[in-house]
Point group: C2
Chain length 401, copies 2
Amino acid sequence: MRAAVLNIGDEVLLGHTINTNLSLIAKTIWDYGILIDEQVTVRDEKKDIIEAFCRLFDKYDMIFTSGGLGPTVDDMTTECIADALGRDLVLNEDVLKDLEYYFISSGRKMTENNKKQAVFPSDSEVINNDFGTASGYFLREQGKWIIVLPGPPIEVKNILTKFLNRYKTKEKISIKIINTQGIGESTLEERLRKLDLNSNYSVNTYFGSGGVDIKIVSEDRNGNELQKLVDKLTKEFKENIYDYDSDSISKSLLKKLIEKDKTVAFAESCTGGNVSIRFIENPDASRALICSLVTYSDESKMKELDVKAETLKEHTAVSEEVAREMLEGLKNKYHADYYAITTGYASPTEDKRTNGLVYIGIYDRENDKTILLEDNFFGTRMQIIDRVTNYLFFNIIKLMG
Amino acid sequence: MRAAVLNIGDEVLLGHTINTNLSLIAKTIWDYGILIDEQVTVRDEKKDIIEAFCRLFDKYDMIFTSGGLGPTVDDMTTECIADALGRDLVLNEDVLKDLEYYFISSGRKMTENNKKQAVFPSDSEVINNDFGTASGYFLREQGKWIIVLPGPPIEVKNILTKFLNRYKTKEKISIKIINTQGIGESTLEERLRKLDLNSNYSVNTYFGSGGVDIKIVSEDRNGNELQKLVDKLTKEFKENIYDYDSDSISKSLLKKLIEKDKTVAFAESCTGGNVSIRFIENPDASRALICSLVTYSDESKMKELDVKAETLKEHTAVSEEVAREMLEGLKNKYHADYYAITTGYASPTEDKRTNGLVYIGIYDRENDKTILLEDNFFGTRMQIIDRVTNYLFFNIIKLMG
């Protein structure tokens, strides 16, 4: 199935909004074997929208539009599509009632304009929007699919997911994601090629939250066969797998900590608070987080973690010795099940050997086990910080078993 | 000047890469009075690239392309453009020498393929790339502009800036940005409309790193007139201005601290490390940062900042009383010039009154001055965290005077 995406909105072309919807749609529909061949953004101009829509409709089997479903005069996606396909605009009484109820219950006044959002091209199937007043919908024309989505990403995700659930039921598709860390995409792909994989499945790799993810997509629903393939890949990549079907490595770590009723304490130097915020980004973080100290300066390493002045002087802050003392200090200060620390260089150093040099340390109280790892990371300052954060989360998950 | 952007690359259409280049290009060229009317993404397919390029070239005065300048067979932007315009491909000896030098000095072997990056359509003006081997270039055809950029955003920024400097010199454009915080875009625009502004300038608002920025663009180089306008706007919005021409509020704060030779200490609860990482994101952070504690749990508030158990019990962690004790504890623990703390709810609460309720506290040691502010923030968890972080940075800058 070859598809196109039509984004509608001046704010994208002015650069005020980064178009994350294309990536969101592409990644989501790819699981269903649908590939995007072209994407276009046009202004909120009737002529431009109709022209682009007709051109894409002629070329592709499936058209996703995004944006232009609001109540203002600028929003004209629906009338343009009706116009392009020669369909009437029909008022949907159920949607109108929902809209009226929404305005009454939120104490706001419904204007004539708002009624626009209850009007659809004839024979459209409406998809309710859980995050806004703009319903999505889809329609069929000449065997092709047209899926009409709002602009805000949270609403796109909501309506697209609902659309694909209806689509999936018909097409019988199953999906599994294997989340890995610490293995490059090209190495992973090379090893995948060497395995003798069942060709009924499409197996692909892409960048996930914590490293490279492997995505298996099947168009038949034989769960047994899919599980066999997952088992095979698990065996091949078990060193690097931290979870399945996860969209966030910090969430995977937190989930595991909560499941096992364990807690964690962090002290970060070179990651500068990134470990902390990426963990706390998850609303449940407080269920497992004991403390998180950003000991960026030498002074705070000494004061907070009892790192010795001599050790800092003799070995510098980026050394195995200081990493050990940071871990020790954290252990003595708080009672947690797991302790984790980082220290390293996130910005380029003059000495080539220390460029991107980072130490991480983890301690498992129950088993009295310490892990100390040294590695060199590459990239921009924020890339290095993010990669070290992933590396730390991954190693805690692996240590937890 | 009406422009179009042509993005080339399978990785964008597969959703692996979010297209941030469109926004980057749009925002940057907007300063020069160039507006984007249409944007298209196509696959790495010769036929698709040429077809899209020709269509856009017919319709617009300026075409930016991005992607497809690498050394592999997939990279065919240059040959497609030469083909579309009927120009020859010409080897640029200077660029070839630079490439050879690059490969020798980095100890890598230059292949036949790499020479592709020294070939350009005839009569192109080459723009050197500081971050990669793919040079950018621009050419004129039938009075129109064609600007050919690589794919990676850092390289796009580099080459686009250089192109616009050449373009600017000819067109005589001057620009000033006023950075504000704590005032909504619509309020700001309304107040702008009420001022009697010189119509020689285009004055617009957009979302910046710390709040809403005002951008003034003038097509003549009369610096005096521009300064008068900036003075007028400064007078009108002085309560909300934190800097001029800044692309990051944390950088503005750090710059001010370094200029005045002052230091800062943070303790954050609800912002969970975000204040810290956004400050430390700047490579110079260590010149002003004394410490940064993430006291997310009650335990760490007590242990790190001597917050009293009774105060937590009586008033909860999100209270003016706890905010005061956090600030007091931080002051007693470290010696800095400025101290700043946050505590609040980043996730929705059942009680409407406490929804998004946040306290920030700042202490200025030299003047023995304490500021304690309470406000309600709205948005998703991460939006609230980011907004509180901006609010805190802004109030430290204002306190510094």
